[in-house]
């Protein structure tokens, strides 16, 4: 009885989570270009998707900003975490809380404050300003991923490498980095996800003519969204779903939920 109640509860939550996604996927096949009016099934939006240069541009911006900002954030976080491993507990906590400001702060405040900074520096808002802003909020996420594993890593791994004749740099790249690779990857992926999904900070730090998928969608909201956008989102979602499932199958044994977020 209780077990059935639990299943029902779970089912309701999953229905709640997947209802909008179902709606979006349905819309991507809807012949009508208006939401909520079902006029039949079509694959038209998938065909015309790649002829829409503004959508393709937004997609490529989203991807390139996501990858670049995640990469820069990972390098910066890695350098910082290695040093923070060696400082006292108190200074480390202090550094971490400074780094966490963009996470704890509201996106709208971070976005506005960065916009004020960029404009104050006389910088033109555009691709570069979005990229910098994304690195700003990605660094703490990557640090939060890397720091625990780096702290848990026994110092003797590094020392063993030195002991066996490796230079400090080689000891780091050939021993320490591989030992913490799972958290570095997790940090990178998390940063990419955060970047790709961000709307508010991008909205304030972007300039005219540069769009990511999120800002593109927002600007289309009032005029009605191009159905190609549904098709694109469906493709991205299905692609990620397959990727995540394969990922989980592959490392079923040592997979943890924390790896995902």
């Amino acid at each position: 009885m209780i077990s059935r109640l639990k299943t029902v509860y779970l089912a309701i939550i999953f229905l709640f989570l997947y209802a909008p996604i179902g709606v979006l996927i349905a819309q991507s096949f809807n012949a009508s270009r208006y939401r909520g009016h079902w006029t039949g099934v079509t694959l038209h939006w998938y065909e015309s998707l790649f002829t829409k240069s503004d959508i393709v541009d937004a997609l490529s911006n989203t991807f390139s900003i996501g990858i670049l900002s995640a990469a820069i954030a990972t390098v910066l976080a890695l350098i910082t975490c290695i040093a923070l491993r060696e400082v006292g507990k108190k200074s480390r906590a202090m550094f971490m809380s400074v780094a966490n400001v963009p996470i704890l702060n509201a996106d709208i405040v971070t976005g506005i404050s960065l916009m004020l900074l960029f404009l104050g520096m006389g910088m033109r808002l555009g691709y570069g300003s979005i990229l910098i802003a994304h690195v700003v909020f990605n660094v703490p996420y990557v640090m939060l991923c890397i720091m625990p594993q780096l702290l848990a890593l026994d110092k003797s791994f590094y020392e063993a490498a030195l002991d066996l004749g490796a230079s400090p740099f080689k000891a780091f790249t050939s021993v320490v980095l591989p030992e913490i690779r799972s958290s570095v990857c997790a940090g990178f992926l998390l940063a990419f996800t955060m970047s790709a999904d961000d709307f508010i900070i991008t909205y304030f730090t972007r300039g005219a003519g540069v769009d990511t998928l999120s800002t593109k969608i927002y600007s289309e909201l009032k005029l009605g969204i191009h159905p190609e956008m549904y098709a694109l989102s469906t493709l991205v979602f299905v692609f990620i779903a397959i990727f995540v499932m394969l990922f989980a199958m592959n490392r079923k044994s040592n997979f943890k939920a924390e790896d995902l977020l």
């Binding site: 939550i13 979006l24 780094a99 999904d197 979602f237 079923k252 995902l260």
Partner: protein, 274 residues
Amino acid sequence: MFQSVTVRNLFLVPFCLWAGIFIFIPLVCIIYYGLTNSGGSFTLDNIAIITQREYYYSLRLSVVLALITTIICLLLAYPLCLILIERAKSAGTIIILLFVLPLWMNTLLSTMAWQTIFERDGILNQVLRLLSMPDMTLINTPTAVVIGMIYNYLPYMVLPLYVTLSKIDKSIFEAARDLGANSWQTFLKVTLPLSLPGAISGITMVFIPALTTFAISALLGGSKLLLIGNVIEQEFTVEYDWHLGSALSIILMIFIVINMVLTIFFDMSRREEE
């Protein structure tokens, strides 16, 4: 890992520069704009504007909706996490993956899908009509906004809670039962206190974005339901009054700082107990 302290400190330089330029100075900028007028002289007028009715109402509405969202998320998340942990043992991690998967759908699009569901002739009402039940007016109501927020922020409550709960040694629950506690007592006296750190970070991760969002309310609340986030956005993108927008942001930051202080305070008192 460093032969000398100097090398270690050298490694901290990039971060310090970065934090200085892109975390510290921007906050100074926002405070500067918030406390000055267009002539550049110091004023508290912009801050004081919050006492005006429309601004005050927006702020109050934002706080109320964010609180409701946070509480509902918390109430939904506890049973959900406990069930997920239990099911993950038998069903494997797939069930957790299924839970996080919707996070990868664009936030704006899924919120818009809720709009499609809630509309006057939306999917929900069409289903209700099929069942010969009366229509529901959800779109452009606070309820719709709260549902949209719950949808978007529930994972941020579930994930930290799930991580903390799954780290608790199972034998602790068994010990509690062994010592005669029923399941409700076990939850109150054992599960709840042990999972509090996860719940606290979940609360922060839901409350702050819910308090400050403007996209969800713009999509599901219509043009009449203005949250403080919408007001700030309009000051920057429609009214071009950066000083007023910054001042309102400072007021938001006060909430954030209170939240941080409470979290740190809680963290410290918990450590002292340990």
